[in-house]
């Protein structure tokens, strides 16, 4: 990889799209929309997002918007059952995994983002487990909201501490 002909393998594999589409479709199936409208809406949203990301270099920042709109529509119409809650979180994580695998960036984006995705997945898992333990739906929202606020505060603290610790100085790759 020394000459000008050398290039890197870019990302954007079909497997991450498949994982994300599967997760969103599963969430759509347990959702409140009739027939297969839920999975279709989710997959179409993700497909449009993938198309925008592939076609437009400038628009790729906001390319996930169609998928987010579809996901929001599914979340709003979904019934408040434990499977829908879990699959909603998984669908959201699938979308993030797809976003990490950008075709215009070096391959392996999903692997590089695995730590960040895992931390989000862990939070979703904890929140879901807590919600299962608390039977009342309103109480569950309260617990999950509090958990979310706590995690946000913890992350903000981590971020500030790390930035302070690095400060001006040599790199530590």
């Amino acid at each position: 990889m020394n000459g000008p002909e050398a290039g890197e393998r870019l990302g954007g594999s079909r497997s991450t799209f498949g994982v994300a589409a599967l997760a969103i479709a599963a969430f759509g199936l347990v959702g409140g929309l009739p027939y297969f409208l839920g999975p279709a809406l989710g997959v179409v949203g993700l497909g449009v997002a993938a198309l925008v990301r592939r076609r437009s270099a400038r628009g790729r920042t906001f390319a996930p918007m169609p998928a987010l709109v579809a996901l929001t529509a599914l979340a709003v119409t979904a019934p408040a059952v434990a499977s829908a809650e879990l699959l909603g979180g998984v669908a959201s994580l699938g979308l993030l995994l797809w976003m990490a695998d950008d075709p215009r960036r070096p391959a392996g984006g999903g692997r590089r983002a695995s730590l960040a995705l895992a931390s989000c997945g862990l939070t979703v898992g904890i929140a879901w487990a807590v919600l299962l333990a608390v039977p009342h739906p309103a109480g569950g929202v309260g617990v999950a909201g509090a958990l979310l606020a706590l995690v946000l505060l913890f992350l903000a603290y981590l971020l500030a501490r790390e930035a302070e610790a690095r400060g001006p100085g040599p790199a530590t790759a």
Binding site: E8, T72, L86, L93, A113, A116, A144, L159, T172
Partner: protein
């Protein structure tokens, strides 16, 4: 122009981060309003991921030193660059955003080759016209794989000097210009000296620099002998760059001056290589002049002055230029005037120079290729307009032929007209 490593590194959120946070907040609001935890679970990853990406993504580099160069011919610019720094796995998340010079069009996607500690990139631009410029270093930053958080990366960032001018100017060096200063009593006292071609051997002076001692000859005869060199002066030339605004369109004037500057740069560079003594003067509102001389130091001064020439805010009168030139240079010096010739003030410059004793040669970059093709006219109308503009310009230039030869420079990537004119002196129609 470098940015030192170690600047404070703050996380910068991208538009995508705000999109995710906005969507997450909307879902959160929906969850609370509808008392349903499902939107909350969808919102959780969207709200967390910007922070998690910034906090947990590995290998954020703090410094990456850039080294880059430009190659290619004519309008094509091939840039190859390399970023080196103490980043290991962070190379995959390093983003390089080039900043092409004004008008340059990328002709292909930027290509990368990444390895631990090094990122190489190649890109290709096409320039619309000859250009002398300094390319700003590319923006280098770390970006997480989800493109939600960015951190600026420090390190050395040298600017890239870029010079593209017509290829014909390289052949100007083979043309021997007339020796123009041949006034009575003038002697070339500096013709034999420490630089130039080898001329002969002489006895070394007591304080002779070691570099000029001919050691082989000294060893043969048993005493110190030194080399003499002859500076082969093939001619003298004064280049005058007309940096006055000539029309009401300042952007057009600036663009034409850029083309003229590139041409002057190439001509001066080629003439310096053939040991021609070159003087340079730029006339905007007032005259900025560099003396007539040769040598590396003078070449660097002249080329830097050419590259630094900018369009003057106000056009100075032509007679001021001619009189000012007389204060700096002896009359009789061959003068090459580069002027866009778009307005009245430029037309008076050549007659004034002639009257003050400077035999001029005018090179005029034509504004027509820049004016046409704006898309406002139909193709037929465009063709008619082009012909009318051409006729008008030819008429105006023909009036100048009474005072000086004129080279209409309408193909910016070729100065064949100038080379042909200098190769065939019989066609010099100086009145």
């Amino acid at each position: 122009m470098s940015v030192t490593a170690g600047a404070v590194r703050a996380v910068r959120w991208t538009g995508r981060a705000y999109l995710l946070l906005g969507s997450g907040s909307l879902l959160l609001f929906t969850a609370v309003a509808s008392r349903s935890p499902v939107p909350l679970f969808v919102a959780l990853p969207l709200l967390l991921i910007p922070f998690a990406s910034a906090a947990f993504a590995p290998g954020q580099p703090t410094a990456a030193d850039l080294s880059w160069s430009a190659a290619g011919l004519g309008p094509d610019v091939d840039v190859a660059g390399e970023l080196r720094g103490p980043f290991g796995s962070g190379a995959g998340n390093l983003v390089v955003e080039p900043r092409p010079p004004p008008g340059a069009v990328p002709t292909g996607p930027i290509r990368f080759a990444r390895a631990p500690g090094v990122v190489r990139f190649w890109l290709r631009w096409r320039l619309p016209e000859p250009t002398i410029t300094t390319v700003r270093p590319p923006a280098v930053f770390w970006q997480d794989p989800l493109a939600v958080a960015e951190v600026d990366v420090g390190g050395a960032r040298p600017a890239l000097p870029l010079g593209r001018y017509p290829a014909e100017v390289h052949r100007l060096g083979a043309i021997r210009l007339d020796r123009t200063i041949a006034l009575p009593g003038e002697t070339f006292s500096r013709r034999i000296g420490a630089s130039g071609e080898f001329y002969g051997i002489r006895e070394a002076a007591p304080d002779e620099p070691w570099g000029r001692i001919n050691w082989r000859a000294s060893a043969r005869v048993g005493r110190l002998l030194a080399n003499d060199y002859q500076v082969d002066l093939t001619g003298d030339l004064l280049i005058v760059l007309d940096a006055r605004p000539g029309s009401s369109d300042r952007a057009l004037d600036a663009r034409l001056l850029g083309i003229a500057r590139a041409g002057v740069y190439g001509i001066a560079d080629a003439l310096f290589h053939s040991k021609v003594r070159v003087a340079f003067a730029s006339f905007g509102e007032f005259l900025d002049a560099l003396p007539l001389s040769a040598g590396r130091g003078h070449r660097a001064r002249v080329l830097a002055a050419i590259a630094a020439s900018r369009l003057a805010p106000v056009a100075g009168p032509a007679e001021r230029c001619a009189f000012s030139l007389k204060r700096f240079y002896r009359p009789g010096l061959t003068t090459m005037v580069i002027s866009s010739w778009t307005g009245e003030p430029s037309e008076e410059l050549v007659p004034y120079l002639r009257r003050q004793g400077f035999p001029p040669l005018l090179i005029s970059p034509s504004p027509l290729p820049l004016l046409l093709g704006s898309g406002e006219l139909s193709p037929v109308e465009e063709q008619v307009a082009r012909r009318l503009e051409l006729v008008e310009r030819r008429v105006r230039l023909s009036e100048t032929w009474r005072y000086a030869p004129v080279i209409d420079w309408d193909d910016y990537w070729s100065l064949e007209g100038l080379a042909r004119f200098l190769r065939r002196p019989s066609r010099r129609r100086v009145s």
